[in-house]
Symmetry: C2
């Protein structure tokens, strides 16, 4: 590799990784170089555009902290997050489909009893959520743990509210012996992903909006089953056809039904995939 | 895009950019999505690997500041920088070839007179550098500006020395009316790129070293000619065949000749490409 040019450099870079001890890492680096160079060649990337790319990544890095993750947002709006989720969660017909995790989950959310109001003061129209967790064969999954989180009527998650010192519209519940669960929360509304940073400017420059359709996040865990990370979307929401992060799957869209007293009811049954099944 | 899966998501993301007003940006985003998704599919990226990728980029962002640019290092060691340089500087036969700019250039380096010692106290074996700047037709380029920079005997550029408050082995000179230049500096030695960050850990994990062969940087500008950004490499240096940033071109390798008094002489003639030529 003593006389590198635009025609031989890709192979030279790939060869430089030949001594990688971990075969999986070797595979990833080889493919990354091949596709990265193919992109640069395809568009005949200029030096000025390369500089703009370096600046863009630098700005993403500098806005990222323990509460803001611009690289996840970038992956989300480029569809890489959903592609990765979809490839790794190709479940058998009948199982509840997975969608993106998103950046607003918090480990160690408060535990709640069935029937509790997890809104905990969050602004929004009251909503009862109930349903069941079952296996692919229809058998209940007793004691399944449901980790639930959502934004409030302002389109903000609790962690986005400056100074709020307790969880809102977020909690962990345990299904009963029949795999059934119910709790109270608020009606989800559409909200924009954080768009005051470089990813937001990229969306602006490409004529895209930052909005996500109304949804409620679930992570459901039970021994003997694959963990399910998903949303339930509201069927009358805006942006179902243009989710900024490409997370909508038709099977996850359902009615949130208005009740005579002005509250809402959401009913959804989850079907888990047995662990290690093919 | 209401029922996204691993098979239809790439087209959905590409379609989302359809309203991009700038056709060049549209082309770049479309190609980027296509190649990024092709990479993820090719390696069947796992969710854990995706998380590691996000963490890697985050660490690159957090170590980057006004003196350290980890994203440029990343681009360098993946060969993207050199590929971009090579694609954009495909000069006619006979012109001096370009190579990577690197992260250690400083705008506004001190002006020097021909014959000055630009080392300015930098540690190293004294070396006289002389040569000429000509056009492709052999005619001299009178008054060409040469911006020169290099590392010292410790393998460090002046900007890498904590507390050093003046330029060393760095300066701008003007060729004479015959396009000739000469100055004094020190002999370049091989040095490792900064490898105490995430890019260094990636090199470690892939069995690669961080070293660059000995070289002297030049940026040469003159009215009517394309700016030339290049290095001159030392022909007896280690790492000419394994430059960590893939910058070596055989035409840029030349002898740095020992002199009877223990100093060195480097002679190199640069040939500039007329501006806007094809």
């Amino acid at each position: 590799m003593r006389n590198l040019n635009q025609h031989n450099i890709t192979q030279a870079v790939i060869d430089s990784f030949a001594g990688t001890p971990d075969p999986r890492l070797l595979q990833i680096m080889t493919s990354l170089v091949r596709h990265l160079h193919a992109f640069a060649r395809d568009v005949q990337l200029t030096e000025q555009e390369w500089t703009q790319g370096i600046d863009f990544l630098t700005r993403c890095g500098h806005i990222t902290d323990d509460k803001r993750q611009e690289f996840i947002l970038l992956s989300d709006v480029l569809g890489l997050s959903m592609l990765t989720v979809a490839m790794n969660n190709d479940k058998p017909q009948g199982c509840t489909e997975a969608t993106v995790f998103g950046p607003f989950h918090v480990d160690g959310a408060p535990r709640h009893e069935l029937g509790d109001d997890i809104a905990n003061g969050a602004k929004g129209t009251p909503c009862v959520v109930r349903g069941s967790v079952r296996g692919l064969d229809g058998s209940p999954v007793p004691g399944a743990l449901l980790d639930v989180w959502q934004s409030d009527d302002d389109g903000l998650y609790d962690v986005q509210h400056q100074g709020l010192d307790h969880a809102q519209s977020r909690g962990i519940l345990q299904a009963d012996d029949d795999g059934r669960f119910h709790f109270r929360s608020i009606v989800a509304v559409p909200y924009p992903i954080p768009h005051d940073g470089p990813v937001g400017r990229m969306l602006d420059a490409t004529g895209r909006h930052p909005w996500r359709p109304a949804h409620l996040h679930f992570m459901i865990q039970a021994p003997g089953y694959e963990t399910l990370i998903t949303h339930v979307f509201r069927d009358d929401s805006d942006y179902l056809d243009s989710d900024a992060v490409f997370g909508v799957r038709q099977s996850l869209v359902c009615a949130w039904t208005p009740q005579p007293d002005g509250t809402y009811l959401l009913e959804y049954d989850f079907v888990l995939n047995p662990a290690h099944s093919e």
